[in-house]
Symmetry: C2
Amino acid sequence: MKYDAPEWATLPILERVRRSLPSEVIAPPLRRLDGVGLMCENLQVTGAYKVRAICHLLNLLKDGLGPKGLALASSGNFAVALAWAGRHYGVPVTAVMMRRSHPWKVQRVRDWGGQVVFSGDSTEERTEALHGLAQDGIHIVDHLTDPQVLVGHATLGLDLAPAQPRQVIVPASTGGLLVATSLALKQINPLVRIVGVQPKGANAMVDSLRNGELKRLDTVVTECDALTANRPGDLPWELAQQWVDDMVEVSEEAIRATVRYLAEEAKLVVEPGGAAGLAAYHSGQIPEQEGTWVVLSGGNIAPARLAEWIQ
Amino acid sequence: MKYDAPEWATLPILERVRRSLPSEVIAPPLRRLDGVGLMCENLQVTGAYKVRAICHLLNLLKDGLGPKGLALASSGNFAVALAWAGRHYGVPVTAVMMRRSHPWKVQRVRDWGGQVVFSGDSTEERTEALHGLAQDGIHIVDHLTDPQVLVGHATLGLDLAPAQPRQVIVPASTGGLLVATSLALKQINPLVRIVGVQPKGANAMVDSLRNGELKRLDTVVTECDALTANRPGDLPWELAQQWVDDMVEVSEEAIRATVRYLAEEAKLVVEPGGAAGLAAYHSGQIPEQEGTWVVLSGGNIAPARLAEWIQ
């Protein structure tokens, strides 16, 4: 099978974008534990992969931004990365967060000087609140539709490429990281298998791919505060049917056990959403295969909550 | 100042030993956080630096060992590394642990097929129990006096050298890692400043250096189960006066806060003893200096205990 990337995401473009990111955006440690590879993106600056896309966006936009700066919608990690990058680039930033966003993440955004606007908990309510900000003269980025967000995410795939993965497991919410990782890796090796993982109670992408049409969940029930999208992103959905090989659902119990396992065995703090991929692999639903890598996509969990989870 | 290393620890020897270690013994991630470098040896295989010395010893000894294999004394991490290496090399191993050794570490040794013999809690009682095993036909290694243990530890210094450190902060118990790190790094750059850290309630090396003679503590009071030596090792003590620039004491409260900080900010699980160096740096007792690196020497803390510490 041959994979033709969209013209905005060819390998030379992705490689140029990777080189343009600040040096603080590390190529994260690639470790092996009990026969599976762990891409430790939880150790990324701001504790999650989102900083890649934010820095790419600010590289593109910073010279044209008005005094009110940039805004985007986020359940948490995107907002944290936005606040860090706003400070790094000296740009005012606003995050549309949800009422149920975790207080630790909200506080972190404020600590780093970001503005927070709250919206309702659905992906649609967030998007509506974001577009409202545009009328106030804030430049908005809608990560459900903006290809440059995927270009930023795709740099994660490039950082995993030296490990020559044969199967890569990626947590999915709107599906952006999932398809973006595939955009990068399948251009390098079309045979690499890309598997997405969602919590059982937040399985909009699973459901959509199963039905062949974009599905919307009425309710989302998961402790993975990074994986709460009640529908796939428009652009990730468009790409997912070609670029994603399989999707798997995982239980909250399995995720909890994996957060604990990663603390005990890997000495890594990984948030629930970041641990979903390894939880799925350990659940036996994904073929065991040499060259399997799991993206530990984030580590932003409040100490008190981590304590409760690993007790 | 010029540093003449002992003939058993010249740079070419250390470099050859580093190359001889199994590939599982990683050069750990070197990260920067809030202006200080973190050498993440907590991410080392077996969760601590001790595996370096064990593998070096087994490379030297394995062909000459009898059917009862190898033994050494350990408060915990050395024993865990011994058990892992015993399995890796196919050699029977026995660890002399203390009654107060943490149950998580004792269980880990047994899980990996190591024998455990318990001794009293003082460094002397451990050593006595170890020498008792020699009479049973077990080859013993006494880490208080064996230069090859320091040679193994010194490979950690080599892995830090690419960061070109100007000041390195190292937790100390018997002082082996402290002097060994210095043996490696001062041969590369005599100007590098090497600072040892001990908990206030387990400060035998601090006390010895302050008094210019080897001092023994009657009691040791610390939650750092990796830093419980009540006296310096003989060989570390002999070298410390020349090779260590400063020693600092740190409170249990500061260590606890640092374990929490490392989980929240660095997304790293670090055991109390492994966090002592950063705790000391944050306490303001060590000059702030660019090029400061802290050795996070271990991450072996039971999840339930970590939960209690970070709550």
